[in-house]
């Protein structure tokens, strides 16, 4: 797929991944279900992954793809711990609504 | 330019033909696995099995198919209609996709053709198999959830946690094989097992990785939802598990995909641990190269028989026993196996 980098300018990838990232941010801001919020965080991480992979290919440098692996590691760890916390929260409050979790306010 | 175009179109035709042939063979084998399963079960239990449709009942799969197609196709009122349809479709699609990277032989060289008997020689073939196997659970989960039935939901939940648990041990035991062969391509793994030791022991990975093979085999049983790991659909507890609400050909695709999965995992086991199309004393290029497929299919059929044999011998696990086996036995054992393999390679070069 050599033609990819000849036909598609890198700006397209930057724009594309920033749109994905923004969608993730929008979801984090507007959704109240904690699981969906976690999923939006995953989407944001993926947008970054995509950008790293694109730069890695365009620069012919494997380091970008290595960074993607590390981000995947972080994402997997985050999903495991996050979902564990979520299940605990659900057990205690019978809800996954993030706006109920403001007990530290007062 | 036109020569290049001709070459590309020839490749496309060749691959399409191979895909179609593999598709038909897979469906045929899956259909006859249902017949084989019933016959094997009958013989193991001192019965006769289906013997009414045709001589020895060999037309039974056609009769079953006709029944499946003509039954009332029922969609529950409160189910999620699109996902209810998507579930079995996704399941059978994923099951059929996996066969693309399995090398069925070397090259077919007859009628002036030279056809590679592998749909796609991906250099990370074994990872491709792992990826698609892990996707198989979505069909079950979507179907079970969309049925809006608590038994189906239980089946779906059980399927997903079982798959996640056993995939880890499966991947770890495959890593040991990769350490030995030094390649992720299934063709490379199969080629690396040609030849013999001392003239009579075939150079198969199973002799280097006996523990890994046992772990992989147990995990394959669990991944294909076969007894004794068929908890997602165990009749005595969950009616039919994730396919309780399904009828007609949607149920048929679930059952069919299960047999396709069994066929594919048998083929993967034969390729990874039992030399694929290699057998001592048999050159896979005999018979215009069709000797390779004959050998690998013989091994695959043997493993399909073993799958059935196990199903009709062993009782089903309890769910906590299943989780204990997966997390407390198989994963530590496979890590141990990996460490031993690494140490062995380090010492012996």
């Amino acid at each position: 797929m050599l033609e990819t980098i000849q036909q598609i300018p890198i700006e397209h990838y930057v724009l594309y991944s920033s749109v994905l990232f923004i969608i993730g941010i929008f979801g984090v801001l507007t959704r109240r279900n904690a699981i969906v919020v976690l999923m939006c965080v995953e989407l944001m991480l993926n947008a970054v992954n995509l950008l790293l992979a694109a730069f890695s290919t365009y620069l012919s440098d494997a380091q970008g793809q290595i960074m993607v692996f590390f981000i995947m590691v972080v994402a997997a760890a985050e999903a495991a711990v996050g979902l564990g916390i979520l299940v605990m929260i659900y057990r205690n409050t019978k809800s996954t609504d993030i706006s109920l979790l403001d007990k530290l306010k007062n | 330019m036109s020569a290049l175009l001709l070459f590309i179109s020839a490749v496309i035709i060749e691959k399409t033909a191979l895909v179609l042939v593999m598709f038909l063979i897979t469906l045929g084998i899956a259909a006859y696995s249902t017949y084989g399963e019933r016959k094997v079960a009958a013989f193991l239990q001192d019965r006769l099995g289906p013997d009414r449709a045709g001589p020895w009942g060999i037309l039974q799969p056609l009769a079953d198919g006709a029944k499946m197609f003509t039954k009332e196709d029922f969609i529950p009122k409160d189910s999620n209609k699109w996902l209810f349809i998507l579930g079995p479709g996704a399941f059978i699609f994923v099951a059929l996709m996996t066969s693309a990277v399995i090398p069925w032989g070397t090259y077919f060289t007859g009628f002036g053709l030279n056809v590679d008997l592998q749909v796609a020689d991906v250099n990370i073939g074994i990872l491709y198999v792992m990826g698609f196997v892990s996707l198989g659970v979505y069909g079950i989960m979507i179907g079970g959830w969309a049925s809006n039935n608590k038994y189906s939901l239980f089946g779906a939940i059980r399927a997903s946690s079982q798959m996640i648990s056993y995939e880890l041990a499966m991947g770890l035991s495959i890593i040991s094989v990769i350490l030995i062969t030094g390649t992720l391509s299934l063709r490379g793994i199969a080629d690396g097992q040609a030849g013999t030791w001392l003239g009579f022991i075939p150079q198969w990975n199973v002799f280097l990785q006996p523990l890994g093979f046992i772990i992989f085999f147990v995990c394959a049983l669990a991944e294909t939802n076969r007894a004794p790991f068929d908890l997602p659909e165990c009749e005595t507890e969950l009616v039919g598990g994730y396919h309780t609400e399904y009828s007609a050909m949607k149920l048929g695709s679930f059952l069919f995909a299960e047999y396709i999965n069994m066929f594919i995992s048998s083929a993967v086991i034969s390729t990874v641990y039992f030399g694929g199309y290699n057998f001592p004393g048999i050159d896979p290029s005999w018979l215009w190269g069709l000797m390779g497929p004959v050998v690998i299919f013989a091994k695959t059929f043997f493993f399909i028989f073993v799958f059935m044999w196990i199903r009709w011998t062993l009782p089903r696990f309890r769910y906590d026993q299943l989780m204990h086996l997966g997390w407390k036995s198989l994963i530590p054992l496979s890590i141990l196996n990996m460490l031993l393999t690494g140490a062995g390679i380090l010492c012996l070069g």
Binding site: - | V40, F43, L44, Q45, D46, W309, T313, L314
Partner: protein, 185 residues
């Protein structure tokens, strides 16, 4: 409690040994058992028969649908003495006796006969005590299977269902059964 048969086994919840804990030997043993069955059946010695085409032989002493015998001249053996009804543990047999009239000598062997003879096949347990009790060798259990039905009333078999035919081809052969019963007596 003291065991009478000495066959009971005490369940001990003992710690499993290493060989038992890896399960594989036990699994292989079980699979060897089923494999033996598989090969025995593949070579054609199935325990199951293809039923309507192939039928299993009855045991010579099989106890099925009763028959009320006639003698060689076609006369009913039964004298309605009621011993069979007394012997019956399931209270399945009832009968009404009647005096033989003039001109009926070719029908009944002795002066008394059963005008009504009924066996309730739903109550009958096919124990064979009736044939042992019979002093006239009139009732026997045969190797015929009692036909199925949807209605309870139809299982009360009267003389039309029990007495064998007069014609030689409608006679029912009970030689083996007769020998068995006589030996038992």
């Amino acid at each position: 409690m003291q065991s009478l048969s000495n066959r009971s086994k005490l369940v001990v919840n003992k710690e499993m040994t290493f060989m038992e804990r890896i399960y594989l030997p036990a699994i292989l043993k079980g699979m060897w058992t089923t494999l033996k069955h598989f090969f025995r059946n593949v070579t054609g010695k199935t325990a199951t028969l293809r039923y309507p085409e192939v039928k299993r032989d009855f045991a010579p002493v099989y106890r099925g649908w009763h028959v009320l015998k006639r003698d060689e001249q076609g006369r009913e053996n039964c004298t309605a003495c009621g011993l069979c009804a007394v012997a019956c543990p399931a209270e399945a047999i009832t009968m009404t006796a009647a005096e033989r009239e003039k001109g009926e000598e070719h029908l009944y062997r002795e002066e008394k006969y059963a005008a009504v003879y009924e066996i309730n096949m739903l109550r009958c347990i096919f124990c064979g005590l009736c044939e042992e009790a019979c002093p006239k060798e009139a009732i026997f259990l045969t190797d015929r299977i009692v036909p199925t039905d949807y209605v309870r009333q139809n299982f009360v078999f009267g003389k039309d269902m029990l007495v064998e035919g007069v014609e030689p081809e409608k006679r029912i052969n009970v030689k083996v059964r007769q020998k068995h019963v006589t030996e038992k007596k």
